[in-house]
Amino acid sequence: MSALLLTHSIRLTRRWVRLYTAGLPTEVREARRAELESDLWEQEQEAGAAGCRPTTTALHVQRRFMLGIPADLSWRQQQGGSKIIRKAGRGAIEGARLTAAAIRRNWALGTVILALAGAFSAVGLVSQAGGAVDPTNPKTCFLHRTGDEPASKRPATDRKRGASVSRAPKRTQSGERQTRSSNLRGGVQ
C-alpha cells in the first residue's frame, strides 16, 4: 500500500510536469521533464538506500511537488506559451497567494481550502494529462516516448503544434534518448 502511494506521488508529479511544460519548445520541455525525472529517481533511490519507509518518501515527494507549484507556474509564464496557459498560471498564482493569506489568518480554513484545491488539481491533472504513465512502458512514459505512437495518443499540444516523428528525440544504438540540441550533447553551455 505504501509503495503504491509512492508510485502515485511520483506519477502525479510527472503528470504535473507534463502539464506545465506542455506547449513549450521541444528542447525546453524535454530538458525540464528529463531533469525532474532524474530528480524523482534519485530521491526514490536515496530514500530506499537510507531505509526510509515508502510512505515517508511519498509525503516528501508530494511536499516538494506542492510547494513548487507557484514557482513552476511562474517559470511557465516566463517561458511564454499559449494565452490560456498564461491566464491559468496567473489565476493559479493569485489562488496560491490568497490561500497563503487565508492560512496565515485562519489555519483551519486555509487547510480546508488547500485540501479542496489539491483535490481539484489532482482531478484536473489526471483528466488533462490523460492516460496512465508507466515508466517501463515506452508508449506511455514521456522519457521513452519515441514519437511513433499514433497521433491520437500524443498530448493535444503536440498535435496542435504539428509535432511529428521527425521532431521526436532520436535514439542511439544503445536505446538512449538523444535530443537534437547541441547543448544537450555534453558540451558546457
Binding site: 528529463a34 532524474s38 530528480d39 534519485e42 510547494l67 514557482a71 507556474l73 517559470w75 558546457v188
Partner: protein
C-alpha cells in the same frame, strides 16, 4: 539557513520578523515585484555556496537532486527544496551566467541504469557573486538576553 525575512528586507518590506512570509513580496506570487539587479536571492546564495562546497569536496559538477541534498545538510533543514523552486532558480542562474550546465553522457547513465543527469558547475561569475553576497550579508545582531548575559 534561508531566512525569508531577508528577502522581505531586500524587497524594502516593512515586516522584518524572522519567519514571516509576506506573499505580496514573493516574486512567484506577485508579478509587480521586481528584484534589485546584481543581488542574489537566498536560494541562489544557497545553491552557489553548496556548489562551491561540493567542489571543495572533490565533486566538480553537481545535479539537481545532489544540490538539494547538499543544501538540506548544510542548512540543517529537514526537507529538500521544492522541485519548482529549485529548478526555476537553477534555470535563472544558468541564464545569468552564474552556473554552466551540460547533459551527462547518455552511455554513463545507461550503464548505471538511471535517467540522465543535467550537470551544473559554478562559474567564476557565480563565485564572484557569492563572495559579494556573503560580504554584504548583515551580521546577526545579538539578542538582548545574550547582551545582558555578557555583562
Amino acid at each position: 539557513m534561508i531566512k525569508l525575512a531577508t528577502a522581505v528586507e531586500e524587497a524594502g518590506g516593512e515586516d522584518t520578523r524572522a519567519g514571516v512570509v509576506d506573499g505580496r513580496k514573493i516574486s512567484s506570487y506577485n508579478r509587480s515585484m521586481r528584484r534589485r539587479p546584481d543581488t542574489l536571492l537566498p536560494i541562489e546564495v544557497s545553491i552557489l555556496a553548496a556548489g562551491v562546497d561540493l567542489r571543495r569536496d572533490g565533486a566538480t559538477t553537481f545535479y539537481g537532486f545532489s544540490i538539494a541534498k547538499e543544501i538540506r545538510e548544510r542548512e540543517g533543514a529537514r526537507r529538500l527544496t521544492a522541485h519548482g523552486t529549485l529548478y526555476k532558480a537553477l534555470d535563472r542562474m544558468k541564464r545569468a551566467g552564474l552556473l554552466a550546465s551540460c547533459w551527462e553522457d547518455p552511455l554513463v547513465a545507461a550503464r548505471e541504469r538511471r535517467p540522465r543527469r543535467r550537470l551544473y558547475e559554478v562559474t567564476s561569475a557565480g563565485e564572484q557573486a557569492l563572495a559579494k553576497a556573503q560580504a554584504e550579508r548583515p551580521r546577526p545582531t545579538p539578542r538582548p538576553a545574550e547582551g545582558l548575559a555578557g555583562l
